[in-house]
């Protein structure tokens, strides 16, 4: 098995607030291979965005990636780097940001500077990481704009964000993220703010570019439909932890964690009786401050058992590539063997 491109071990990102320590990400382990698309899915407040931002260390105080977290990146040139250990605003971290790892954000409306031409905003990254030569950088920028399927790149280069539609702006964001040919693209709900047809175009575009450039994509979303379309592997997050991970078919065919099962039941199905109510998961995601040591989903779980309130289950492998954090299935495995 090849060495993973990205290997996250025990990632913990805490926000030190006056009310206490908010454990937004609390012990996440992940591995990503080159060319793989990993979909992270979870409700609002599950910590998926904070997790993704932690990978680039885009966490502002009072938030902090805690000591003991490990984010190993296998760069093209040489030794693996532990991003969690790099000094903030140091050269080493800035070499990774934008060059090895790029990020696309949720809001294409506000993620671009309103007073700079979009071409210049892409050019900036190219000048920083690829070449100091202005003419060459401009050519790379125009090529990137063309690649994301924008007709007339020269004109787009000179546009300001407010002159472009939401879909075009998100294409520009993708062009910006891909201009420096990163090994890993983190996409934090890039299509949530767009309408469905544009969403579909953007997803297809990202998938095609992944094949062309041979990069990996870490795709954050709360939309199961999007995950089904783009991901190879899926990790389900709940309250800062991964509760289940498997390849995309297994997650949809044979979900094991009660949380994953309820998530899947909450998708509207074409052809279902229109009178039939969608199943919602009861309760809301609690704020992860001062959580007791127990299963974090116990309060909302239909299958809750006595031991769920006493100990916290670990994420354990139950099948080839299928891990789940639930006592129900841990016992099944133990009894079965």
């Amino acid at each position: 098995m090849q060495t993973p491109l990205l290997s996250i071990k025990n990632l913990r990102t805490y926000f030190h607030l006056d009310e206490g320590v908010l454990k937004a990400v609390d012990g996440v382990d992940l591995e990503m291979q080159t060319g793989q698309t990993l979909g992270i899915i979870g409700e609002s407040g599950s910590g998926k965005s904070v997790m993704a931002r932690s990978v680039m260390r885009l966490i502002a105080p009072p938030g902090r990636v805690e000591a003991g977290s490990q984010i190993l990146l296998n760069t093209n040139d040489g030794e693996p780097v532990d991003i969690a250990q790099l000094p903030y605003d140091g050269d080493a971290l800035r070499q990774i940001r934008g060059k090895s790892i790029s990020m696309i954000f949720q809001e294409p409306m506000t993620s671009l500077s309103p007073v700079h031409r979009v071409g210049d905003q892409i050019l900036e990254a190219v000048l920083l990481h690829v070449t100091r030569d202005k003419t060459e950088a401009r050519a790379i920028t125009l090529d990137a704009i063309q690649r994301v399927g924008i007709p007339n790149p020269e004109r787009a280069f000179l546009s300001y964000p407010h002159e472009l539609s939401g879909g075009l702006r998100q294409r520009i964001m993708i062009a910006m993220a891909l201009a420096c040919r990163p090994q890993l693209l983190i996409a934090d709900e890039p299509t949530t703010a767009l309408d469905v047809t544009v969403q579909w175009q953007i997803l297809r575009l990202m998938d095609a570019l992944r094949n062309d450039l041979g990069m990996a994509i870490l795709y954050i979303t709360h939309d199961l439909g999007v995950v089904a379309q783009i991901a190879d592997t899926v990790a389900v997050m709940y309250l800062g932890q991964i509760v289940e991970t498997a390849d995309v078919f297994t997650i949809f065919e044979r979900p094991l964690h009660p949380y994953t099962q309820s998530l899947l039941k909450s998708i509207p199905k074409v052809g279902a009786q229109s009178r039939q109510r969608l199943e919602a998961i009861g309760g809301t995601v609690p704020v992860p401050i001062n959580l007791p040591v127990r299963c974090r989903f116990a309060d909302r779980c239909q299958f809750v058992k006595p031991e769920c309130s006493i100990a916290a289950p670990a994420l354990r492998l139950v099948d080839n590539g299928h891990a789940v954090r639930c006592f129900l299935h841990h016992q099944e495995v133990e009894h079965g063997r």
């Binding site: 800035r94 940001r97 954000f105 007073v115 920083l128 407010h162």
Partner: protein
């Protein structure tokens, strides 16, 4: 853009006509006029004035005409560059203004420059170091600056300067230079006198701008495009100035236009207290003495600068902020 500027000039012309009417009426509103006040004062002193002289003066100054005609006399004069005649100084208004306008404009421009030069760095520091000890210090001083009347500060500084440093900070020149022609010595003497009045006049504007800049910059720093820039691998300092500061400066640019009148009115009282040879005290005296043409001309010139300043800041804003491109 050109269309826009032409259209704005038409509006400016209309606006100035309205300002001239309103200011003329306001100055004429109190009962009586300059001449009757003057005559009464002379009579109180026991002087014998015969009616013919009074009638002669009335005709000379145009005071026997109905107000509407007086207004048109004044306005047609203005259009030809004739600002009229000051009763109390017995000199053409144009001469009086020529003496004091350069110092007024000089002090105003310097005040605005100092205001920005102090407010922008402090505003940026306060926003990037929110709730730090220095931020609190600047906020505290800023609120004092906003709430303290500038003439009070002028008096305090004059007192402190005189008592502890033996300085006379009144006026723009030391007594020995008054009436002398301009020379290097006089010029450097003037430079030494300038800082305190300028600091006093700029204080409240500076404090206000610091609050505005700190607030907008705090908003901008949290916008997603800052994360985008950071995710590109830009240095913190570079991205701060290239993105959020660049955008937070825009509201300040749009204030240049109306900073001018507030600087001017702030300067009236400070100039009286500090005995500065600016237009401010002249306006004050003219309004008190119903010196119609002098007061009216000063108000007109001030309005003219204000509308032109506003137009300039609008054009400037359209240049730096592409979102405000003016519709053709």
């Amino acid at each position: 853009m050109l269309n826009f500027i032409i259209r704005r000039f038409v509006f400016i012309a209309i606006l100035l006509v309205l300002v001239s009417i309103v200011s003329f009426i306001t100055i004429q509103l109190p009962p009586g006029d300059w001449l009757s006040a003057y005559v009464t004062a002379l009579k109180v002193q026991g002087a014998q004035i015969n009616e013919e002289i009074i009638e002669g003066l009335k005709i000379q100054y145009g005071l026997e005409l109905p107000p509407v005609q007086q207004y048109f006399r004044w306005v047609t004069g203005l259009l030809q560059g004739d600002f009229g005649f000051s009763f109390s100084y017995s000199r053409p208004v144009a001469d009086l203004l020529a003496e004091r306008l350069p110092a007024t404009i000089g002090i105003s421009v310097l005040t605005i420059i100092v205001t920005y030069a102090i407010a922008i760095p402090i505003g940026i520091y306060s926003a990037t170091h929110q709730y730090s000890p220095l931020d609190y210090t600047f906020s505290f001083l800023g609120f004092i600056g906003l709430s303290m009347p500038s003439f009070l500060l002028a008096l305090i500084l004059m007192f402190v300067g005189y008592k502890y440093f033996g300085l006379s900070i009144g006026g723009l020149n030391s007594p020995e230079f008054i009436g002398e022609p301009m020379s290097w010595a006089k010029f450097s003497d003037m430079l030494a006198h300038l800082p305190i009045p300028i600091l006093i006049i700029s204080l409240s504007g500076t404090a206000g701008l610091i609050r505005v800049l700190r607030g907008t910059l705090l908003d901008e720093i949290r916008k997603p495009y800052v994360d985008t820039a950071r995710a590109k691998g830009l240095k913190e300092r570079v991205l701060l100035y290239r993105y959020p500061v660049r955008i937070a400066i825009n509201p300040l640019i749009s204030t240049i236009g109306w900073l001018l009148p507030s600087v001017f009115s702030g300067q009236v009282i400070v100039s009286i207290v500090l005995n500065l040879p600016t237009v401010g005290p002249l306006l004050y005296e003219a309004l008190r003495g119903q010196d119609t043409y002098l007061a009216g001309s000063i108000v007109m010139i001030l309005s003219f600068f204000t509308v032109i300043g506003t137009l300039l800041s609008d054009i400037l804003l359209a240049i730096v902020d592409p979102r405000i491109r003016i519709e053709e």
